[in-house]
């Protein structure tokens, strides 16, 4: 019995990971590959502000058959923006919103990892080595939040996907969130937009908690 259960859970894991990585790739691909536009994404805005050197590019990403992952209706679309929000290029921002919709906490959780991947790729392209999350505040390394890897943050945000105990899956199916702090952490932010801000660090101090770009590109 246990043998069948483990095969079943393995298959579920494979399916789950397959679905989520496909979605993540979609978002990432539509925005980072030289900001190229694939068949699922349309660039709706590109502007260089005259008063400042900020470059802002906005993409409208239509996500097909994504109800189960992003909880979007088929007509809805997601806007993703990656921009420099400081003159010296030290702060990068990932911003996402869904047309006419309040972002639920689970949206924000699902957006965090692809957002980070996007930022990590962009930093790698620009040749930066280290950064810190400064927003959302609940995950801010500047404040001392200890996790500094994509694998760790994914597990922290969705422990149920990494649950070693089979018994607990039933509990999660009933809608019990294992770590409720994540939901409460995000409720203090603006509900219509998800923002992820990072600070680029050139030379980290020995005690500073920083993300290593190269290490996280491989996760």
């Amino acid at each position: 019995m246990k043998y069948y259960l483990s095969i079943f859970s393995l298959m579920t894991m494979v399916l789950l990971s397959g679905c989520s990585s496909k979605q993540e790739q979609l978002i990432v691909a539509s925005t980072i590959t030289n900001y190229a536009v694939d068949q699922n994404a349309t660039m709706i805005e590109e502007k260089i502000q005259t008063e400042s050197p900020y470059r802002i590019q906005t993409y409208k990403v239509k996500i097909k058959d994504s109800e189960h992952i992003w909880m979007l209706d088929k007509q809805e679309s997601m806007g993703v923006v990656l921009s420099d929000i400081s003159k010296n290029g030290k702060i990068l921002q990932f911003k996402a919103s869904i047309t006419g919709r309040v972002l639920e906490n689970h949206h924000k959780k699902e957006l965090l990892v692809p957002g980070l991947q996007l930022l990590v790729h962009e930093l790698g392209k620009r040749g930066h080595k280290y950064f810190q999350i400064i927003k959302p505040t609940s995950l801010s390394n500047l404040n001392g939040f200890p996790i500094n890897s994509i694998a760790g943050l994914s597990a922290y945000l969705s422990p149920e996907l990494n649950n070693p105990s089979e018994d607990n899956e039933l509990e999660n199916a009933d809608g019990m969130d294992v770590h409720s702090s994540i939901n409460s952490g995000f409720t203090i932010f603006d509900d219509s937009v998800f923002e992820l801000n990072i600070l680029i660090i050139d030379t980290p101090k020995p005690y500073q908690i920083v993300w290593n770009v190269e290490d996280n590109l491989r996760q």
Partner: protein, 181 residues
């Protein structure tokens, strides 16, 4: 291509691996059924032959308070540069609430504990290791200490006597992974 397959296999093994916990952790009746342990090393160097000193053990929130005070002193220069480059309004929106705001409402619900250990050589700071426990229930100090004392560089998820490796910060393993790419 072969390397990619090997790397993928290695990663999947790592992600799905059952890890061996020490007998202390399994045999003792820990207050909580479920917790996650995350290990962070600020500078990725070997800690062999380094002198260690635990500088903080307790709740994450208290560590934030302590860290923040020191941070404000140490990073004054950097913060000033960022403030001047982003403009005051933006600076306030990003850093204002962050450094001077109240963070206490962020982490309710779960119990969050850290142990912070500094490693030095000849009296000079080399690296810091932070062990971070996110637990479903409040953990007595003895339980926290047992987890800190019986773990090394593995990040894992413990639930009802079983544990799964999230990833490892083991340097040799990471170097091996780097070598494959």
């Amino acid at each position: 291509m072969k390397k990619i397959f090997v790397l993928m296999a290695l990663i999947s093994v790592l992600l799905n691996a059952e890890i061996k916990l020490t007998e202390e952790l399994i045999d003792n009746d820990i207050e909580t059924n479920e917790y996650q342990l995350f290990v962070t090393k600020t500078v990725d160097v070997s800690i062999d032959n380094l002198k260690s000193e635990v500088i903080f053990t307790g709740e994450l929130e208290d560590y934030f308070e302590k860290y923040r005070e020191k941070y404000e002193q140490d990073m004054e220069e950097e913060l000033a540069i960022i403030a001047s480059s982003t403009g005051k309004v933006l600076f306030r929106s990003i850093f204002g609430g962050l450094l001077f705001g109240d963070n206490s409402n962020v982490f309710f619900g779960d119990a969050n504990y850290v142990q912070v250990t500094d490693y030095t050589k000849n009296g000079k700071f080399v690296t810091r290791i932070i062990k971070y426990i996110v637990s479903d229930e409040n953990l007595p100090k003895e339980d926290q200490q047992m987890i800190y004392a019986t773990t090394n560089s593995d990040n894992y998820h413990f639930n009802e006597g079983q544990a799964k490796l999230i990833f490892t910060t083991d340097r040799k393993l990471n170097e091996y992974k780097k070598g494959l790419k």
